[in-house]
């Protein structure tokens, strides 16, 4: 009967409680949080693209090409952000507390 044994038992009991109670309690908040995240991640990437493009244009005097290219890259990065978030959120099974969002593939 070591300390690890007790820790194991506590972890198991906690996981059981979490599996029963946590999804119902957390799902609304998690979904809404996910929504906020996706919306602002997309917008932020486009904004960064434009700022980066305008900066490159100003430094290298190639207006408006860098802005156009970086705006498009920004859109792509925004979609990539949203898709990555959605993939991770979907791959985490409901009620499995050991695997959170963004836990890495």
């Amino acid at each position: 009967m070591g300390k690890d044994d007790l820790n194991d038992r506590i972890a198991k009991a906690q996981a059981k409680i979490d599996a029963q109670e946590r999804p119902a309690r957390m799902s609304t908040g998690k979904g809404m949080g996910l929504g906020f995240r996706m919306a602002s991640d997309f917008a932020a990437a486009v904004i960064v693209g434009v700022i980066l493009g305008l900066g490159i244009d100003a430094v290298f005097k190639v207006s408006p090409w860098a802005t156009i290219i970086c705006l498009l890259l920004g859109f792509v990065a925004g979609v990539r952000n949203v898709v990555a978030t959605a993939t991770k959120a979907n791959s985490a099974p409901q009620g499995d507390v050991t695997k959170g969002e963004g836990d890495g593939a």
Binding site: G29, M32, R37, G49, C70, L73, G104
Partner: protein, 253 residues
């Protein structure tokens, strides 16, 4: 527009004590004052809750324990064992944002998180920390997050700029979401509340009745939603801090 109905007036920064060092403006503003109030409320609550620790917790103590375990749970879920040293940081970020949001919900009290100077600083600090931890832990290997493995060289020319933009968008996304939600929520509250006097002035008694019966329940609902958003934004900020830290701590994906 008069002060009573101007939705943006509540976000005005007032200098209470002028204080400058050279060109640096370090005046004590109303924003700073309400930040101090929020921090004092937080310290007072946590000190009161943890001053007389018992094995069977009192109500205050168990509230503080739930609060702490909620954050520790997020960090453990996302970062596992290497995230343990960052629990105090994430706890501090969450608590400060949460208290600042809740303080802002009180009538006539200032919402410090509705200014991008505050949220933007926290976001830049968080990402700066991620970069710092990543470079300390992995050295130049940290830059591998910009170069996904298993992608042909030709595609890397496109994918790497996209990854860099995606990384740069994180602090902006983090700071903008919190600031925009708090700003937008408070403007919405003020505008909806402004409907009642506008209706009363325009339609007289009928307007007052409509304002009371139709608009008032709406304001109550929106206020409740704002409290949810106040908590949710703090939660999202804390969770994203963990997710971004994972890039610095976790294995390459």
């Amino acid at each position: 527009m008069s002060i009573a109905t101007d939705p943006m007036h509540q976000f005005k920064i007032d200098r209470w004590f002028d204080f400058r060092i050279g060109d640096l403006d370090l005046s004590f503003t109303n924003s700073a004052f309400w930040m101090v109030v929020g921090v004092l409320v937080l310290i007072a609550f946590l000190a009161a809750a943890t001053s007389k620790m018992k094995t069977v917790p009192t109500r205050m103590q168990s509230l503080a324990e739930i609060w702490y375990q909620f954050i520790a749970g997020i960090v453990k879920d996302v970062n596992h064992a290497p995230g343990k040293p960052f629990i105090p940081l994430v706890f501090t970020l969450f608590s400060f944002i949460f208290i600042a949001n809740i303080v802002g919900m009180m009538p006539y009290w200032f919402t410090t998180t509705s200014h991008i100077a505050v949220t933007g600083f926290m976001a830049i600090f968080t990402i700066g920390l991620v970069v710092l931890v990543g470079i300390i832990k992995k050295g130049f290997g940290f830059l591998k997050i910009f170069v996904p493995s298993g992608v042909p060289f030709v595609l890397l020319l496109i994918v790497t700029p996209i990854e860099i933009i995606s990384f740069l968008s994180r602090p902006i996304s983090l700071g903008m979401r919190l600031f925009a939600n708090m700003l937008g929520g408070h403007v919405a509250l003020k505008v909806f509340a402004g409907f009642i006097p506008s209706l009363a002035v325009a339609l007289g008694g009928v307007g007052m009745l409509m304002g009371g019966l139709l608009v008032m329940p709406l304001i109550v609902g929106v206020t409740a939603l704002e409290f949810l958003v106040a908590f949710l934004q703090a939660y999202v900020f804390a969770m994203l801090t963990c997710v971004y830290l994972n890039d610095a701590l976790g294995e390459a994906h």
